[in-house]
Symmetry: C2
C-alpha cells in the first residue's frame, strides 16, 4: 500500500500501528523516530524491517505516509520539521484525541503544499510504551477521520489504511468530534482523576489508609486515573471549552443527587438510578462491551 512509512513517536499507539502495518504488509519499510532510549530498545526487538532514525531531516523526503503519535504538545516542533523536509506527495496523519486545536495548528503553521488528514483511533488503555502495543489494537474499534475537503484521493487512502488495521472508519468534522469525545472520553477520565484526588484528600484529612478497601469501586477508577499525564493534560487543555461546559452539567447533576440523598427523595432517585441501565443496554447492543459480569480481575 505504501513503500515507506515514518512513525514519529512510537509509544503504545505508534507501535500498534507499526505492528499492524507490518503484519498486514501495508508497507515495505517502517522508519521510526522516537526520542525515548528505553522505547528505542523495545522497538528494535519488534521486527527487522524497522529502521530507527535519529533526526527528522532530508532523509524523510521519500516517505509515503507519516504518522505522528506523540503527545499533542510536541506537534508545533514537528510541523516545523515537516515543513522543511516534506513534499505534497506525502500523506501526513496523527492520532491525537482532540481535533479543533490541531485543525487550527495545521491551518496556521503547516506549509500549504503539505497534506495532513487527522485520525483518531478510539483505542488505548492506561499503559504507555511500545511494549504494550499490539497488532490487533484497532480491530473492530472506531477510527474517526476528520473531513479535509481537500484531497479525496488521500482521504480514501487513509481510510483504507485504517480499515486494513481492522478499524471501522467514520468521517466527522473537528467540532463535532471534540464535542462528542468531551462526554464519552475526556470527562470520564477527568472524573476518575478527580475521584482519586478526593480519596487522597480524604486520607490526609482523616489520617486513614483506605486503599485496601478499594475493591468496592475505587479500584476501577484508579486504573483509568493511572493513564499518561502528558497525554491527558494535552487533551484537557486543548478541549477546554467543551470540558468546562460538560463539567458544569456534571456538577449540576451531582448537586441534584446530593439533594435527593439528603432529602431522601425516593421515587426521583429510583427513577434516575434505573434509567442509567438503558445506556448499558445500548452499549451492549452496539457491542462496545461484553455482558459478562465483572467481579474484579484475577491472575
Amino acid at each position: 500500500m505504501f513503500k515507506n512509512i515514518l512513525i514519529i513517536g512510537c509509544g503504545m499507539i505508534g507501535s500498534s500501528i507499526l505492528r499492524g502495518a507490518i503484519n498486514q504488509k501495508l508497507c515495505r519499510t517502517v522508519y521510526v523516530f522516537e526520542k525515548n532510549v528505553k522505547y528505542q530498545t523495545q522497538i528494535k526487538k519488534i521486527n527487522k524491517k524497522i529502521i530507527l532514525i535519529k533526526k527528522i531531516d532530508k532523509k524523510i523526503m521519500n516517505m509515503d505516509l507519516v504518522v505522528i503519535s506523540t503527545p499533542m504538545s510536541e506537534y508545533q516542533k514537528i510541523i516545523n520539521k515537516l515543513n522543511a523536509n516534506l513534499s505534497k506527495k506525502t500523506l501526513i496523519t496523527d492520532v491525537g484525541s482532540t481535533r479543533g486545536n490541531v485543525a487550527k495548528l495545521i491551518k496556521e503553521k503547516l506549509s500549504k503544499k503539505l497534506n495532513w488528514i487527522m485520525s483518531h483511533p478510539i483505542a488505548g488503555s492506561e499503559v504507555s510504551g511500545p511494549k504494550y502495543g499490539s497488532k490487533n489494537l484497532f480491530k473492530n474499534k472506531w477510527c474517526i477521520l476528520i473531513k479535509s475537503n481537500k484531497n479525496k484521493v488521500l482521504e480514501n487512502k487513509l481510510s483504507k489504511f485504517w480499515k486494513k488495521l481492522g478499524s471501522k472508519v467514520l468521517f466527522m468534522k473537528e467540532q463535532e468530534h471534540d464535542k462528542i469525545f468531551s462526554v464519552t472520553s475526556h470527562l470520564p477520565h477527568l472524573i476518575a482523576y478527580n475521584l482519586i484526588k478526593t480519596a487522597q484528600d480524604f486520607q490526609k484529612i482523616n489520617k486513614k489508609n483506605i486503599i485496601k478497601y478499594s475493591a468496592g469501586g475505587l479500584r476501577d477508577f484508579s486504573r483509568i486515573a493511572a493513564s499518561n499525564e502528558i497525554m491527558w493534560r494535552d487533551i484537557f487543555f486543548n478541549n477546554s471549552k467543551n470540558m468546562t461546559k460538560i463539567i458544569d452539567l456534571f456538577i449540576k447533576n451531582l448537586k441534584n443527587f446530593k439533594v435527593d440523598i439528603s432529602k431522601k427523595r425516593n421515587s426521583l432517585m429510583l427513577d434516575k438510578l434505573k434509567k442509567s441501565k438503558k445506556v448499558r443496554e445500548q452499549i451492549l447492543l452496539l457491542k462496545q462491551d461484553i455482558s459478562k459480569p465483572d467481579f474484579g480481575r484475577e491472575n
Copy 2:
C-alpha cells in the same frame, strides 16, 4: 459448623453464601426464604440440600445461623418476624453495605434477647440474582464485621464462618466503616450514575447518539451504573451524612480542575495527574487489582 442455616433474600450475594456453605460443608441443611419466583426456580437447581420456605414463622426456631441478604429497606419487616420466632441461640447476621443505620435499627427494634452481628463482605458486581452467585465470590476478599461488645463467642464463630468462605476478616466500628466506604465504594458508584445521567442529558440537549463512541471511557462507568437500583438507593440514603460531605469535597476538587483547565495551569495540572498514579501503585501492591492493562473486554 452449623446444623441449619437460613438465608433470607437469596440474590447474588445470598446464593454465593449458600454455595460456599454447602461446598465447605459448613451446615447440614440450608433453608432459603426468597420472594422472587424466578429466583426460586434458579435456587432449586443449585443443590438438593436446599429447602425453600414460604413463610418466616415458628419453623425457623431451630436455625443456628440466619443470614439476611435482602436490600436494607426490607430489614424492618424482617426484624418483626425474627423477634416473634427466634431465640438467643440463633446467630443473626446480614450483609448490608452501610452499618450505622442497621446498628440503630438493631438497637431500637430488635428484641434484646436476640444476637445480631453485622457483616459486610466486600464483594459483588453490577449483576443481580442467584444465577450469578459463586462459591468463590468471597475468596481473598475482605469481610468487615462490626464489633458488638456483646458476645465474643458468637463473634468468633461468625468470623470463622467467613474465613471458611475464603474471606479475610476485619473488625471495625460502624461509624468508621460507613466513613471509609463512603469514599471507596459509595461515592464511586454515585459518580458512575451521575456520569451516565450527564451523558444522557447531553444526548437530549444535542440530539446526538454518542453511545457508540463509549469505548473511550464511558463504557467502564456504564457497567458500574448498571448496578441494582434498590440496593444503591438504600446505601446512598442510609449513608447520607458521609455522602454529602464527600460529595462536597469531590465538587470542590472538580471545580479546581475546571479552573486548571480553563487557565491552562500547567505544572499544577501535571502534578495532580501524576500523583494519582501513586494510588494505583498502592492498589496493585495490596493486590486489590492486577497490573495487566485493560484494553476493553472481548468475548
